[in-house]
């Protein structure tokens, strides 16, 4: 009798005791195979080289051997190298020239072309089309523009009886010339990002603003610009990260000259590591660039966050 009473109690849990059931949120490890291919390339092509680069930067290394551990020796050599310091300045100067221009011109184009007309669609395509060109084509085009005497710029200046500034050879203008070519090349992405942000602003807010007597300037300042603030920050960060990696344009247009004035960090790294085969020094310069980009992106992000509403 006692057994008969206890058996059902042990077979069925008492009221209030939770019966374990399949947890639908439990990880399913077979899903891992979907991310495995990406993870493989991410690890082998990004994570591993990152740490290998850090390791290399502490060694005296060339292509045939990794020599002895030198500690911060490579970094000390870097900061005693006037060319490297010049290349850091050049890179910042270039970023300062291009990033604000890309953001502002991209925004201006997006504001002008954010309409449903056929001509706006054609112009959007035209402005974006330069982005699909390779750096070789872009620099070729701009070298033709800048060529003294016969270049497009000289011809246009010639119409007014003036002499075109020599953007490639003038030490004061060379980086500006590269910046102009870069802005022309890269303007498509900021424009498209701004366009997509503008198209996400609900139409009824503009209607409310129209009923609130807002003129075009008030609408732009009080409705449009605050609505796309996030995209503005995004564009700035993307462009800072991209433009810090400047390489192809000066390599193909000026070879870093005149007098290293257009040599950016990446070109310095290339020269050091792959032309002078000083891999340790090149790796150290790469780490400096990595930290600079990281700081720039983080600073931008934090500054905007502190003001709120990112």
């Amino acid at each position: 009798m006692a057994e008969q009473l206890t058996l059902p109690q042990t077979a069925t849990p008492a009221a209030g005791v939770r019966v374990p059931s399949a947890d639908i949120y439990a990880p399913k490890w077979r899903n891992f195979i979907f991310v495995a291919p990406y993870l493989f390339f991410f690890t082998t092509l990004l994570v591993f080289p990152l740490f290998w680069g850090i390791w290399l930067s502490f060694h005296k290394a060339d292509t045939f051997s990794t020599g002895k551990f030198v500690g911060f020796g490579n970094y000390i050599r870097l900061f005693n190298d006037k060319v490297f310091l010049q290349s850091i300045w050049n890179t910042f100067y270039f970023v300062g020239l291009t990033v604000p221009a890309l953001a502002l011109i991209g925004l201006f184009l997006a504001l002008c072309l954010n309409r449903r007309t056929r001509s706006a669609a054609v112009l959007r395509t035209i402005f974006f089309s330069s982005s699909v060109l390779s750096v070789t084509i872009v620099t070729l085009i701009w070298r033709i523009v800048y060529i003294p005497n016969n270049g497009l710029l000289s011809i246009v200046y010639g119409w007014f009886g003036a002499t075109a500034p020599s953007f490639i050879s003038d030490p004061n203008l060379a980086m500006i010339g590269i910046a102009i070519a870069t802005i022309w090349w890269c303007i498509g992405l900021p424009m498209m990002l701004f366009l997509s942000a503008l198209q996400q602003i609900p139409q009824d807010i503009y209607e409310a603003a129209a009923l609130d007597n807002a003129n075009r300037w008030q609408t732009l300042r009080s409705i449009t610009l605050p609505s796309i603030k996030r995209t503005f920050v995004l564009v700035i960060i993307i462009q800072i990260v991209l433009q810090f990696q400047l390489f192809g344009q000066p390599w193909l247009m000026t070879r870093g000259g005149p007098n290293n004035l257009t040599k950016p960090i990446v070109l310095y790294i290339y020269d050091t590591a792959f032309r002078r085969w000083d891999l340790g020094l090149g790796a150290a310069a790469s780490e400096i660039l990595f930290i600079l980009i990281l700081i720039a992106a983080m600073a931008q992000y934090l500054v905007t966050r502190r003001k709120g509403e990112l």
Binding site: D204, I205, E207, A208, A210, L211, D212, N213, N215, S222
Partner: protein, 363 residues
């Protein structure tokens, strides 16, 4: 400040489609006018034309005798509350309300006073420094109304402002709007597809369908004496009963006969009607459920809806036509029961094939 709004013969086309077709309407000063109609009938388009958010292809719109259809929205001295509220997401509640006033150069003191007063009236004074994203749907709604009030406009336009609220809040806001209209003396136009909102808020209702006005009248006129079969169907829940009938016009009043030998003497004069086919119409509250043998028809109960204070009984007549009648809240009737139905001929309507209505004298 209030507005007498005169809409004359307006037409609106979107490409080849005409969405408003030669429509004329006069809205009196301080009147609460509701545009009621199904989706796509053109009611919102008409409101947006008054606001200036849609152009007018033909005809004119004027306020207090001054033509406004050629003015930009901001210069029409009207305020609009949008269905989606359309608050400026990056501005605080106070800035949302002040924006329109700042744009026309009103002094900061006046703006502050008006915003404070609107906040007090709408009980949103404690939310002034919040942004729309931090507010509930009902609070956003109030801010949107506040933004309209501070402008002290000649006319308020509401574009389905309650449709994004949950059921309980909708009822509460409806009551508050009804109170608000007595505090804020101004012409108000309210667009809705909800007949209860229309009936409870309106001084007059414009029932629209298919690009045109079907009827303009007070809520009770619209309900009791619907001008067309569409209005009779659209206004009132459940919709009016329609029964195919043959008419006997030999007496003073028309007698409607349904299949199965049912006859109902209406209170409609025989001499009013022309030739042609007619449909007999009667509201569910004018069809009482009665014991079998009493009343003028019999039917079998299909469905019962108990609403609490009354019971709606869906019964099938001998010829298969369904009629909704009403009974007391605690009606003992059950599905499948055979019941008697008493049609009150003094509350009946007749509709000709074109949908035009004749009403009994008693309604």
């Amino acid at each position: 400040m209030t507005a007498h709004i005169e809409i004359k013969d307006v037409v609106k086309r979107f490409g080849a489609a005409t969405v408003i077709d030669h429509l004329s309407l006069s809205i009196d000063p301080n009147e609460f006018m509701v545009f009621l109609g199904p989706s796509g009938c053109g009611k919102s388009t008409l409101l947006r034309m008054i606001a200036g958010l849609e152009s007018v292809d033909e005809g004119t719109i004027s306020i207090n005798g001054q033509r406004i259809d050629n003015l930009p929205p901001g210069q029409r001295d009207i305020a609009m509350v949008f269905q989606s509220y359309a608050l400026y997401p990056h501005m605080t509640v106070a800035d949302n309300m002040a924006f329109g006033l700042r744009n026309i150069g009103i002094s900061a003191d006046v703006i502050s006073a008006r915003v404070t007063e609107a906040g007090r009236m709408l009980e949103i004074g404690h939310l002034m420094e919040r942004k729309p994203g931090q507010l509930s749907g009902g609070q956003r709604q109030r801010v949107a109304i506040g933004r309209a009030i501070v402008k002290e406009p000649k006319a308020f336009l509401f574009d389905e402002p309650l449709s994004n609220l949950d059921a309980a809040l909708r009822v509460r806001t409806r009551v508050e709007l009804a109170q608000l209209r007595h505090r804020v003396k101004s012409t108000m136009i309210f667009v809705t597809h909800d007949q209860i909102e229309a009936m409870t808020l309106a001084d007059r209702i414009v029932v629209m369908n298919n690009r045109k006005i079907e009827q303009i009248g007070t809520p009770m006129e619209i309900y009791s004496r619907p001008a067309t079969r569409f209005v009779a169907t659209f206004v009132g829940s459940p919709a009016m009963n329609f029964v195919d009938a043959t008419l006997d016009t030999s007496g003073t009043n028309v007698t409607a006969r349904f299949a199965g030998g049912v006859s109902v003497e209406t209170d409609i004069g025989s001499n009013q009607l022309g030739d042609g086919k007619y449909t007999f119409g009667i509201r569910s509250e004018d069809v009482r459920v009665a014991p079998v043998g009493q009343g003028n028809a019999e039917g079998v109960v299909d469905v019962i809806e108990r609403l609490g204070e009354r019971t709606l009984v869906y019964a099938r007549l001998g010829d298969g036509q369904q009629v909704v009648g009403s009974d007391a809240g605690n009606s003992p009737v059950a599905v499948g029961d055979r019941i008697g139905l008493a049609f009150d001929g003094r509350k009946s309507h007749l509709f000709n094939e074109a949908g035009h209505a004749w009403h009994a004298r008693g309604v």
